[in-house]
Amino acid sequence: MHPAFSVVFLTTLIGAGQGLFLALFTVESYAAFGLLSPQPDDFYALGSAIAFVLLVLGLIASFFHLGHPERAWRAAAKWRTSWLSREVIVLPAFMGLVCLYGCAHWLGLNPVFAQLPSGAPVNLTAVLGSLAWVLAFALYICTGMIYACLKFLREWHTPLTVINYILLGGASGFTLAAALAAAVAPEVMPLLAGWALIITFLGLIGRAATLIRNARLKPKSTLQTAIGVKHPKIMQKSMGLMGGSFNTREFFHGQSRSVLRSVKWLFLVAAFFVPMVLLAIGLSQAAGGVLLAAFVVQYLGLIAERWFFFAQANHPQNLYYQSVA
């Protein structure tokens, strides 16, 4: 597939935004259950704001993907069948909740509605946070499923796609949260950095598993099934057009195999290895700058990862577009 930068940014930005929110809410939950001391509202408010900004940026990026952004609202219509439609519904809902959550913290508006048996308060931010927490995962699932549900895009058609969206988004979000915490809530930095490290590591496992899986994929569609001729040797001579078409632009990355290979190593290093090292350093030295660097590197790595995610997917339609003459 041709990696569209709108989609690369959309998925990485909202992934990080979701992850950041999850990190915030994790902290709040720890605190609610008394595993941590309560953290300043500023931390949540600022974190939510950042998450919100990431989500907004992602949303903006997504508009660049549309031929008719002014009709984007129509995309909510088919939530019964379309994961894209679901994403389109969940994303703003999630954004709304993150916004409310952040505001509630910022304004310190946090009425308690009830008390759990454990003693944890059921207050406004907990309710908003829990709902947002559910939506964050729903959003990961929607985003992942947009790709995972396309069965002939076999590189994507695996639960690993959804898992990776969760893990990679989570990793970048937690890394960012750790960097944020280093600045405004140092106490929770180790917790977040630790989780970031763990999730990044899990992400590495997930992503590596996908790479291994995909490397072993045998194409299910072949020229033989594409044109219905059973002969081992078939070569396309002409695709019927010479100056290119939507089909030659949308479904091909246009790069050589070696570029693809380089990008793969680049993202493995930038999205996983370097951030893990930096996280470890940041964690041990309580160095916010290093953590921020970890996030920046990881985010760039994830852009490469997402680029690769698209580029590696080999659409069966490509069988019909192999040769110009």
Binding site: S82, I227, V229
Partner: protein, 243 residues
């Protein structure tokens, strides 16, 4: 239930591209149009077409088959492109099984094209909506046209009548018979999309000449050239045995 479709006979398709340009011509000024052409007179001209004809070589010289292969939207019975569309712009008509795009609803997200394994959809780069073969809905029901004309443009144009059109759910239709009798098949059956369009494979006519057909009663050489007789003086059994 009706399922309209094209059946394409690869046995007679000569790859002339009539179906390609006639489709373009009909549709650019029709309800699907205009169909944009970019750089029409410059480098790398590229435009939106609903139908393309491709060429494949099968086998190795001298046992080569050259296959011309027209491809447009196959109007799948289980069209993966439809459920994924977030706006409902892509839909399959219950009454005749035609898969269509409502250009007024389409947001140009391209998702449906990702979901089509056949590369049958093309985004119109100017109108920025998704387009594809409409099975000429704006012809086939137009009662101002004669019955002969109420067929898709490409079908009418095709000089070899390699393109048949009809209801594949009606077992008595020309298309159903063609599929049944000539081994009609679907593309990429592995995905369960159940394309309504079918293809008919190459069929070979061979001629077997038997040895005895070359020994002819009507051999004119018998008239013109008395078949050579051996000279009387040449050796024969008479020279060596007497019984």
């Amino acid at each position: 239930m009706t399922q309209l479709a094209l059946v394409i006979d690869l046995n007679v398709c000569v790859g002339c591209h009539a179906c390609v340009t006639n489709c373009k011509e009909w549709n650019t000024s029709g309800s699907a149009g205009p169909l944009v052409d970019l750089n029409p007179y410059g480098k790398d001209p590229t435009g939106t077409f609903f139908n393309r004809v491709q060429t494949f070589e099968v086998g190795e010289f001298p046992h080569t088959e050259t296959v011309h292969f027209p491809k447009s939207c196959l109007h799948c019975e289980e069209p993966p492109c439809v459920p994924v569309c977030p706006t409902g712009a892509s839909y399959k008509r219950a009454e005749d099984g035609i898969v269509l795009v409502d250009y007024d609803k389409c947001i140009g997200c391209k998702y449906c094209s990702w979901a089509c394994p056949y590369g049958a959809r093309e985004l119109d780069e100017h109108q920025r909506v998704m387009k594809k073969c409409t099975l000429c809905v704006d012809r086939i029901y137009d009662m101002r046209l004669t019955a002969e004309e109420r067929r898709p443009a490409c079908v009418r144009a095709c000089p070899t009548s390699a393109r048949l059109f009809g209801d594949i759910h009606d077992p008595e239709s020309e298309v159903s018979k063609a599929i049944r009798e000539n081994g009609g098949y679907q593309l990429m059956p592995e995905w369960g999309t159940q394309p309504a369009n079918h293809y008919l494979p190459r069929r070979k006519t061979k001629l077997r000449i038997r040895e005895d057909e070359l020994e002819r009663a009507d051999n004119p050489l018998k008239i013109d050239q008395q078949l050579p007789k051996p000279g009387k003086a040449e050796p024969s059994l008479d020279d060596v045995t007497s019984w």
